[in-house]
């Protein structure tokens, strides 16, 4: 019995997909959520856990969110890892303001999220008091699974909020714009 070859099978044009139907917003969001360039703002011991999550063993790259850019101009996901003191807060704010839209903020660990047990004069009681945080990861430090959970949740959020929403998102314009 002669088996039909793949090439001669009816209705198939080789292995490639010849066309896909989608909406432009969905396609843009899809591209954004799987190419998150991150800016790791690492200040404290959570950095060790962040390295563990980002490096080969746990491999954050599986989620399309691994490439660290050490210039805020090239990053679109700000990961704040560790305690932020009031002395450091202006630096963090400036890094955020230097990032181009669209941009997202992930607060990594208890200290960045709420100040943690540094409930005192020196520490910012959660970076959400100065920045718009999209996803907060709990834990002291968070395990890699929590980090990936947060990345997946952020990707869902990016997909849902759509292209236009991000384009018009100006929740925290720079100080000059706010004064006008």
């Amino acid at each position: 019995m002669k088996r039909p070859s793949r090439e001669s099978a009816p209705g198939r044009a080789g292995e490639s997909v010849s066309w896909v139907a989608t909406r432009i917003g969905d396609a843009v969001s899809w591209g954004r959520k799987y190419s998150l360039f991150q800016y790791p703002f690492v200040t404290a011991c959570c950095g060790m856990e962040f390295m563990s999550a980002a490096a080969g063993h746990h491999d954050q790259d599986r989620f399309g969110a691994a490439f660290p850019r050490f210039s805020p101009r090239q990053a679109d996901m700000l990961i704040v890892v560790g305690t932020v003191s009031h002395k450091l807060a202006p630096v963090l704010k400036r890094v955020y303001d230097q990032m181009c839209e669209p941009k997202w903020v992930v607060s990594f660990g208890t200290c960045a999220t709420s100040g943690g047990f540094y409930d005192n004069y020196a520490t910012v009681q959660g970076i959400d008091t100065i920045l718009p945080v999209d996803v907060a990861i709990s834990g002291c430090p968070p395990p890699p699974e929590s980090v990936f959970d947060a990345i997946i949740k952020l990707q869902e959020k990016i997909q849902k909020e759509g292209w236009e929403a991000v384009q018009s998102r100006r929740r925290h314009p720079p100080a000059e714009a706010r004064r006008q």
Partner: protein, 189 residues
């Protein structure tokens, strides 16, 4: 290293105290031993003289640490002066460790600087100034070292509210009650 059984137990004054007492009878107030430390209590304005003498006669080579105690609200025993400045000296030749203490009143929180004798005194004194507001006469540049210049007050003083923040960045969520604020009553009374 095995600890001696006498470790940390207060004992009678040692040779450093007796020699300092003989040399500076008006300056030296009290002294005892807490092995491996020897403790001498002196008048605050004479620390530079005492430190210089220790360096020459006892081979003290390093100022290991400088700390301050705030005794506001202290309830144990005799009421001490508001502050107490504590210097830790170390001799590497003999292994001897000497702790010098001096009472510093709230009205005149100033002591002489040791930055001319020990380079390590520079940052230690800046920290004491930053955290407790103790002044050091003769310090080459007494300014804050841990907190930012805009910060007002000295945060480790007992009368500084622990959670009183002085943010540099505009807060985007004002209205969040500070930690420790009384929660609103949930009905009832």
């Amino acid at each position: 290293m095995k600890q001696q059984p006498s470790h940390g137990i207060r004992q009678e004054a040692g040779p450093v105290f007796h020699e300092l007492r003989g040399k500076f009878p008006r300056i030296v107030r009290d002294g005892w031993q807490e092995p491996p430390l020897e403790v001498v209590v002196i008048e605050k304005d004479s620390i530079a003289r005492v430190a210089g003498y220790l360096r020459e006669s006892w081979g003290v080579a390093a100022l290991m640490d400088l700390t301050v105690v705030d005794y506001q609200g202290y309830a144990g025993g005799k009421k001490p002066a508001r502050f107490e400045v504590v210097w830790y000296f170390q001799s590497f030749e003999s292994g001897r460790r000497i702790r010098i203490k001096a009472a510093v009143p709230d009205t005149d929180p100033v002591v002489p600087s040791l930055s001319g004798l020990y380079a390590s005194a520079d940052w230690l004194e800046r920290e004491a100034w930053d955290m407790f507001g103790i002044g050091f006469t003769g310090h080459p540049g007494l300014r804050r070292i841990l907190m930012y210049e805009e910060f007002s007050g000295h945060p480790l003083r007992k009368d500084y509210p622990l959670a009183k923040e002085q943010p540099l960045v505009e807060q985007v969520h004002p209205g969040v009650p500070p930690f420790g604020a009384k929660p609103k009553a949930l009905g009832g009374e």
